[in-house]
């Protein structure tokens, strides 16, 4: 399979002189399987340049998996050009929101309300199907399998594991390390630790055997001190996760909007200096727009 990054920013698009090399579009990852299926992870603004490229392959069948419906993961969706062209077959998947009783289709419909967008969802010409997913429900796309697992974010977020032709890639979506909400002297501290450990084991077992992890690493561990509970990971935590799950390659993404190209270069160097000699450390990559992974 071939994986390509079309958007690597978190929160908000960040074009400008300082982000030219890594790119300013928000989250969008294209996965092309060996048998030619197109799977798209998230629909941040990166899906717009991707859609221009896809215009050359009409009629198009593609499968868009949404990790969660925060803006930076869906804001490109109304601009996904194949939606406007009849003959295209577009399947959109995501978690059902049990609280608001909304599925992923409602979200797109709301997003295209006339106050925000000049075309109504009902006017889209492509054949569009929405599927609400449960945790660990596997979607079969030909012989490719896509399965979601709930990760830790401020909204319900699915990390997706894609298995195709003997290769596996895992994308965390937005994900923060679990932390104990109690102090060590509290009664519930130990119990909470056990639940965290159980959940972590569950996640690592789920990912184990993957060739690649693509992970939300918005913060350095110093920055994280002021961002605890905001729902995003650190570089250090992602390395830890990849080690625990014994995954050989780790791609950092969801870069902070203000993070400059030079800073990203510097952070990568520092991480390699700190971690690459320690056993089990995966190969580290900073995701940038256009980066391709061939598995």
């Amino acid at each position: 399979m071939k994986i390509q990054f079309w958007g690597v920013r978190g929160s908000i698009p960040s074009p400008g002189a300082k982000t030219v090399r890594y790119g300013g579009n928000t989250t969008c990852i294209e996965v092309k399987t060996d048998s030619g299926q197109t799977i798209i992870l998230d629909a941040g603004t990166g899906i717009y340049p991707l859609s221009q490229q896809l215009l050359s392959v009409m009629p198009l069948t593609c499968h868009i998996f949404i990790t969660h419906t925060h803006w930076d993961h869906i804001q490109g969706l109304p601009f996904f050009l194949p939606l406007f062209i009849s003959g295209n077959d577009i399947r959109i998947y995501g978690a059902f929101d049990p609280l608001l009783q909304k599925d992923i289709g409602d979200v797109l419909r709301d997003q295209m309300a006339y106050s925000y967008f000049p075309v109504r969802e009902t006017e889209l010409a492509a054949d569009i199907q929405y599927t609400s997913l449960r945790e660990r429900q596997t979607t079969e796309i030909g012989s490719t399998l896509v399965t979601g697992i709930i990760t830790n974010h401020t909204a319900l977020n699915f990390g997706y594991l894609i298995e195709s032709n003997g290769k596996k890639v895992f994308f965390t979506g937005d994900n923060e390390e679990l932390f104990n909400i109690y102090s060590p002297e509290d009664d519930s501290y130990e119990e909470y630790n056990q639940i965290i450990q159980h959940k972590n084991d569950f996640l690592h077992d789920f990912i184990r055997g993957a060739n690649v992890i693509i992970a939300d690493s918005a913060y350095t561990s110093e920055e994280y001190l002021a961002k605890k509970g905001w729902g995003h990971g650190t570089y250090e935590y992602c390395i830890e996760m990849a080690k625990k799950a014994e995954v050989p390659s780790l791609y950092f993404t969801h870069h902070e909007p203000l993070r400059s190209d030079d800073e990203l270069d510097r952070i990568k160097k520092q991480l390699e200096a700190r971690f690459s000699s320690s056993p089990g450390t995966p190969l580290l990559y900073m995701a940038y727009e256009g980066l391709e992974i061939n598995l």
Binding site: F96, P98, L99, R134, E135, R136, Q137, I150, N152, H153, T154, A155, L156, N157, L178, I181, Y182, D186, S188, E190, E191, Y192, Q194, I195, I196, K199, F202, G229, G231
Partner: protein
């Protein structure tokens, strides 16, 4: 503390508020265990829910429940909700303390708490959906000196244990929890320990006058509880528990 007014309240306080309130708790567990989430194992504690689906989702579920005002302070049945909450909470705390005392493993203690908290949930259902009939039931219990569940049988032809367990089952709570709610008025020591513990905790809560949930009739504790604690009567058991009910923080009761 008022959940709805403080969006930034720390996670542990959110947990605290939810696990003191049978209605919030029921709603949380109902949603978390619903097929929407498709979690691989049933969730029976708030902490568990927080780790698995995230503190924000848990908080939102609680906020939604609170906003719907499921538990009006004043109801047509004349059932005192503050006293009911205190009874539920003290039963939960006593049940957990009993379990601790007889060396139930740490990870199972939260189920003992949960069952204590939810055992009388059926009464809330009656209060909300059959207020007129339930007012009559409360009166019958009082006038004839009956345990409330017997008065319920007389007037409603079912009781709160039955109704509560049916709901718990519908909402996919684990079967030991369903069993416990269903049988919490059966003094029969062949049952699971949790049912005996909740039975006993319920009696102790009444005996010590912590809260009120419709009658004050205290029954003999299950033999298994006496055996396990090496106690002969309820006074003995209460002594052995220390000051569990006094440590209950009553400040959660809204004015």
């Amino acid at each position: 503390m008022d959940l709805t007014s403080d969006i930034n309240c720390p996670p542990r306080e959110v947990v605290d508020v939810i696990q003191r309130d049978p209605v919030l708790m029921m709603n949380l567990l109902k949603l978390v265990n619903s097929s929407y989430f498709g979690l691989s194992q049933s969730v029976t504690s708030v902490n568990h829910a927080v780790v698995y689906i995230g503190i924000n989702t848990v908080k939102n579920i609680a906020l939604l429940t609170a906003a719907l005002g499921v538990l009006p302070r004043k109801n047509k049945a004349g059932f005192n909700i503050d006293d009911f909450l205190l009874h539920s909470l003290s039963t939960a705390a006593i049940s957990k303390t009993l379990a601790k005392k007889v060396a139930v493993p740490e990870r199972e203690l939260s189920d003992f708490f949960l069952c204590g908290l939810l055992h009388d949930f059926g009464k809330i259902v009656f209060t909300n959906f059959l207020p007129g009939e339930y007012q009559k039931t409360l009166l019958v219990a009082k006038e004839q000196g009956l345990p409330l569940y017997e008065a319920e049988m007389q007037v409603l032809e079912t009781d709160h244990a039955q109704v509560g367990s049916l709901l718990a089952e519908k909402w996919r709570l684990p079967s030991p929890v369903v069993e416990c709610i269903k049988n919490h008025h059966c003094r029969d020591s062949r049952q699971q320990l949790m049912t005996d513990a909740v039975f006993a905790a319920n009696q102790i809560s009444k005996k010590t006058g912590t809260g009120y949930s419709g009658d004050n009739i205290v029954q003999e504790l299950p033999d298994k509880i006496y055996d396990l604690l090496g106690a002969e009567d309820i006074e003995n058991v209460i002594l052995s528990l220390g000051d569990v009910t006094a440590t209950l923080d009553k400040s959660f009761l809204r004015q």
